[in-house]
């Protein structure tokens, strides 16, 4: 009898989507869904039309307006970003022409692409979903392959319902044990990237596993998978389990009745074989993770919040030392200085990383009966209309507003500066987003990535604080 070949979760999904293996070792891979947003999707649809290609399967293609649209109450097509209206109108026209399903600005289920793709059960376990956005890896939390692509590949995806790609190598990152109090999925992923660098998973798809992950609520799994790309991974993925099935059942595009039963039986098989071999394995003891925050301009520039900005001589590589020097200068920090106690001028809760109900609850529990420190501009942008409604039903909006936070309409908002709204020059901002790149939240704005609870606690204090010291206050 032939020996059974052990496969990983990623193998199982990838292999079952190969339409054709090509001579150079790459493959044409079938895509179950394509999701667009107005910033990159508009260009893709326009250029597809100019080349006289049709969208192959519009029923499997979806679109939203998240990146450029304003998040101020009363917003419309006009945006603070110069030229933004053009993106929005083009997107609307082009997706109507191509018969895509569009979650337009005032749609009751509008929101950030990666949130609504899950909320609507457009992404299901075992699917391969592509989106011209690097954070498509977020959807790996449902046990799907989220494939972030550029605009040219997006045109290819729309025209052919496939992508050409070479299967990446594979890495498993096991988080084992209990997380200490005050430590979240955001801290887990920052800890991992700080330890293994921002290019640590280059060329690899990463499966997150281990006992910590098994006990992690779904929303935290989204946070973890979201930042796989900041680790340079092809994507991040977690084996789907009951938590995922319970979440998806009865959602809009989820299969129903008998079809659901069939699907669920299939999804239960979606896991790495116990003897599957990974190209790399990393094990992290979760008990050793502290609340983590970035000091610099790459997600790998992260330290425990009670730690110190690293000394320059600790970086061996000369290019890294150069990058650190530029980062310190940009951030207005000195090597060896503590991060706790740095005064802040801005606080942001939002983005596809941390703008779900549990994130807002965590922040609200800290904000309750407190006020944001004078001089701090604090903004909360729920990631989707569903999250916003649910939060308002619980009265979270009131807690945010009473604390002095702005309460926004869903969208990417101040996760990135597109020429419209921004934080100020040399302002220090603590943010629940995923990128602390130079200029990401405004020209010369200094962004520190952290968990939503850490953002809330720091907003009250007016300086960066260790969330463990305020928890349960």
């Amino acid at each position: 009898m032939q020996k059974r070949v052990s496969t990983t979760l990623f193998d199982k999904i990838w292999d079952s989507h190969v339409v054709k293996s090509l001579p150079d070792g790459s493959a044409l891979v079938y895509l179950d869904r394509v999701f667009l947003h107005e910033r990159t999707g508009s260009v893709a649809l326009e250029s597809l039309k100019a080349a006289d290609h049709a969208v192959k399967n519009p029923r499997h293609a979806f679109a939203t307006m998240d990146h450029i649209v304003d998040t101020l109450p009363g917003r419309g097509d006009k945006t603070l970003m110069p030229g933004g209206e053009n993106y929005i109108r083009t997107m609307r026209r082009a997706s109507n022409e191509a018969n895509l399903t569009l979650f337009d600005i005032h749609h009751q289920d509008h929101g950030i692409a990666h949130l609504i793709s899950a909320e609507q059960a457009i992404t299901l376990p075992g699917l391969v979903v592509a989106c011209p956005d690097s954070h498509t890896c977020t959807l790996g939390a449902l046990g799907a392959i989220g494939w972030g692509i550029g605009t040219s590949d997006c045109e290819h995806a729309l025209a052919t319902q496939t992508l050409r790609g070479t299967k990446p190598k594979q890495m498993r990152v096991c988080f084992e044990g209990d997380l200490p109090p005050g430590v979240t999925a955001k801290d887990m992923i920052l800890h991992l990237i700080a330890k293994y660098t921002a290019s640590g998973a280059a060329g690899h798809a990463v499966e997150f596993a281990g006992s910590t992950i098994e006990h992690l609520p779904l929303e935290a799994r989204f946070t973890l998978c979201n930042m796989a790309v900041e680790f340079s991974a092809f994507t991040g993925i977690i084996a789907p389990d009951q938590v995922v099935f319970d979440y998806l059942q009865n959602r809009n595009y989820a299969p129903k009745g008998e079809l659901w039963e069939k699907a669920e039986a299939h999804w239960r098989e979606l896991k790495s074989d116990s003897d599957a071999v990974f190209d790399r394995e990393i094990v992290i003891k979760s008990e050793a993770i502290a609340p983590t925050i970035t000091w610099g301009t790459s997600p790998q520039h992260a330290i425990p919040v009670d730690g110190k900005v690293p000394a320059l001589n600790e970086a061996v590589d000369e290019n890294e030392r150069a990058a650190m020097k530029v980062a310190l200068d940009y951030m207005g920090l000195n090597p060896g200085q503590p991060i706790e106690g740095l005064p802040i001028q801005g606080a942001f809760i939002g983005s596809c990383t941390n703008s779900r109900l549990s994130d807002l609850r965590a922040a609200a529990s800290i904000l309750n009966n407190h006020r944001v420190a004078p001089g701090v501009r604090a903004i909360c942008t729920p990631g989707s209309a569903q999250v916003k409604r649910a939060a308002e039903q619980e009265g979270l909006d009131q807690i945010f507003l009473e604390a002095g936070f702005e309460w926004r309409e869903p969208g990417c908002s101040l996760c990135f500066f597109a020429g419209g709204e921004s934080f100020g020059i040399e302002e220090r901002v603590i943010t629940s987003t995923n990128r602390n790149f130079r200029g990401r939240q405004g020209r010369k704005t200094r962004s520190h990535l952290a968990s939503p609870a850490a953002v809330a606690a720091s907003a009250i204090a007016g300086e960066i604080v260790d969330v463990r010291k305020v928890n349960g206050r």
């Binding site: 956005d133 050409r164 299969p255 079809l259 150069a322 130079r438």
Partner: protein
């Protein structure tokens, strides 16, 4: 797409790790629904001087603004060049500015793909080789040009020594012939159709 065969040009060095696509083209510079005319926004945060958010002139300190680096068409960098946002605008801006080749220790995955789709060579090389290229060119960039040959897979330095590099076969073919990716895949349309048919039977829940 224009076929790519050989390119000889001035080479400039940006020797830092993790140059992300937000640096290559800041979001605020992506102000049109088009792939053209983005060169002006290339490295905008570094290339220009600002008062508040207003551009008030060129930053003469930035490498691409120095006369010695006029007409740069080749970039050298370090690890993970083009990481971060998937924005293909980064590649369109580089192309529009006149960059044809980028040589770095490693690249962001999506960025590297985007380069191949737009006729730019993204060449990964070992740190020693990059150091060698730097030493060979940076003291006199207008005279010490690099010559990149995609058919031969070589980079030749001013001292006449060729360094070889790797490029996935398919990307190389497409670049050499200037072929269109979508047209190429559409020759397999019947394979795609039969896959979809079979798959709708075996995974009906995945088909809407």
């Amino acid at each position: 797409m224009k076929p790519f065969e050989q390119h000889i040009g001035v080479c400039a060095d940006i020797p830092i790790n993790n140059v992300d696509t937000d640096q290559i083209i800041p979001s605020r510079e992506m102000n049109r629904v088009s792939k053209q005319g983005l060169g002006e926004g290339l490295f905008a945060g570094w290339r220009y001087l600002y008062e508040g958010t207003e551009k008030v002139g060129e930053n003469s300190e930035f490498v691409l603004n120095k006369p010695a680096f006029a007409n740069t068409s080749i970039l050298l960098s370090a690890q993970n060049f083009g990481c971060g946002s998937s924005r293909e605008h980064a590649v369109w801006a580089l192309r529009d500015f006149g960059i044809r080749v980028i040589i770095a220790e490693s690249f962001g995955r999506i960025f590297k793909n985007n380069c191949a789709r737009n006729g730019i060579l993204a060449i990964p090389l070992a740190p020693e080789s990059i150091r060698h290229l730097r030493e060979q060119t940076q003291h006199d960039p207008q005279t010490c040009l690099l010559s990149v040959d995609l058919a031969q897979l070589t980079i030749t330095t001013p001292d006449g020594n060729p360094l070889s590099f790797d490029m996935p076969t398919f990307d190389r073919e497409m670049l050499l012939k200037g072929l269109d990716y979508i047209d190429y895949t559409l020759q397999f349309e019947s394979d795609i159709e039969s896959f979809i048919k079979e798959d709708s039977n075996s995974r009906p829940w995945a088909h809407l």
